[in-house]
């Protein structure tokens, strides 16, 4: 008789494990979603910060003829300025649309002209530039976007902290669920534990059975949750990007994100196995005289 593959000492597919699997899939789904938001947010924040560091706006405060042209000439010749382009009247008005909507402003209301410049703001001598405007008699205000950048950085840091705290909570809940489920399976398989104890199986041997079982279950649940979350995120990204023009806020899921999501799934599986082992060992030691 050829020897078949040995039967697992802990029988698979117990009724107690099914709800655990479903809950762990949901936890993995939520964890993946949270981590993806963190990763996308990190990338977007870095991109915005980078844009803000290399762009500034000059606001010409008067409608005197020739002031914009003079300002452009000065800016294009100023050391460190890579480009200087005036915003058209249409673009100027578009900037006001968040406040006034599609309303047309009366012709006698003057809107300041804006010039967008590209420069390395870390090296640009802003004081010298403002001095140059004054010397040339141009009434202008220079906005380096630092306030925006600071606000953005602060908001994003807080949001990231909140999201990472959420991730920790989800992982904590996974640990608690694994521990609870291990105890439940231990209770339902007390007969097997007793027999193993009687034949001299060590605590570690018995706990090892639970580690194997929950590692397998944890990985399957984590991968399932991750795949569902990636599918969900991909659909969301597609939906968001389809409805956004080229100037809008476009999302993207990168290969690097998938790597971190796989790391997260592996971590959830490992945490589940580790928790199961610890819970099993603790329960066995409390229950058995030795």
């Amino acid at each position: 008789m050829s020897d078949p593959k040995p039967t697992p000492i802990l029988p698979p597919g117990q009724a107690e494990e099914r709800p655990l699997f479903v809950i762990m899939v949901i936890m993995a789904f939520l964890a993946t979603l949270t981590l993806t938001v963190v990763l996308m947010g990190l990338r977007q924040s870095a991109s915005w910060q980078s844009d803000l560091k290399s762009a500034a706006t000059v606001q010409i405060m008067t409608d005197e003829a020739g002031q914009v042209d003079e300002a452009l000439k000065l800016l294009r010749a100023f050391p460190g300025v890579k480009s200087a382009d005036p915003l058209s009247a249409g673009e100027n008005r578009a900037l006001l649309s968040p406040w006034i909507g599609e309303l047309s402003l009366p012709e006698d209301i003057k809107i300041p002209s804006l010039i967008k410049i590209q420069a390395d703001l870390d090296t640009l001598d802003e004081d010298a530039l403002i001095g140059a405007f004054e010397s040339a008699g141009i009434k202008a205000e220079f906005d380096n976007h630092r306030q925006w950048s600071r606000n953005l950085a602060t908001t994003w840091a807080r949001m990231r902290l909140a999201l990472l705290s959420l991730l920790v909570l989800i992982i904590g809940a996974t640990v608690a669920i694994s521990s609870f489920a291990t105890r439940s399976v231990l209770r339902s398989r007390q007969n097997i534990i007793n027999v193993l104890g009687q034949v001299g199986a060590s605590d570690k041997f018995i706990a090892g059975l639970f580690v194997k079982r929950f590692m397998s279950l944890g990985f399957k649940a984590a991968i399932s949750g991750m795949v569902l979350a990636v599918a969900f995120i991909s659909l969301f990204v597609l939906w968001q990007n389809l409805g956004t023009d080229e100037n809008g806020y476009k999302l993207a899921l990168k290969i690097g994100d998938i790597f971190w999501l796989i790391v997260l799934a592996a971590a959830i599986g490992a945490i589940s196995a580790f928790t199961a082992g610890r819970s099993a060992l603790g329960t066995i030691r409390r229950q058995r005289p030795g």
Partner: protein, 234 residues
Amino acid sequence: MNVSIEQVSNAAPVIQLEKVSVRYDRDTEIFSDLNFALDPQSFTFLTGASGAGKSTLLKLFYLALNPSRGLIRLFGQDVLSSTRKDRQLLKRRIGVVSQDFALIPHLTVFENATLPLVAAGYSPSKYTADAKELLAWVGLGDKLRALPPTLSGGEAQRLAIARAVVNQPDILIADEPTGNVDPEMGRKLLRLFAEMNRTGTTIIIATHDAALVKEFNADILKIVGGKLTRGSIL
């Protein structure tokens, strides 16, 4: 007569109880100040009326139960002050056949029989041939892949015995091992125990089968009123 540690032979006992008491609850004490020693390589029948405490006493021997007070030594080692690991190693030297057989229902006959070897970390290549031979000897050679729920009472009992002896333990403790088998199989199993005893295994068997006890020239211990007495089955 009461059996005490002073009355045993000079050889170091394999099981030794000193002033051992066992309580089920605060008021009920099954054994009180029990002194007992079991010589190595002895063959002993433990008898007593139903409910006298035979199974409880055996549980003390195979470390499934801790006494409420007293001292237990196995192979000279104080088990109550031993580490868990040491107790687990001691258990590997004891084969147990319990009344309920304690088989794992989803494991095959072969897997149940070899469980002590798996738990001790042996490789299947080391034990497969011997285990199959043992199972054939107890009449289960053609049921290696059968599951316990499909076995008759006698077959399940023989499987429990095969599991108890598969790792050649130093002590074999059996609780009514012939209770579910026919007399012929009962005698065959006892001959297996006798053979193991001749090769050095200490045997202690709880039974109420007086006819079987008479057939074998073995020591008899009787539990009467929570005390152990040595003597006749009658």
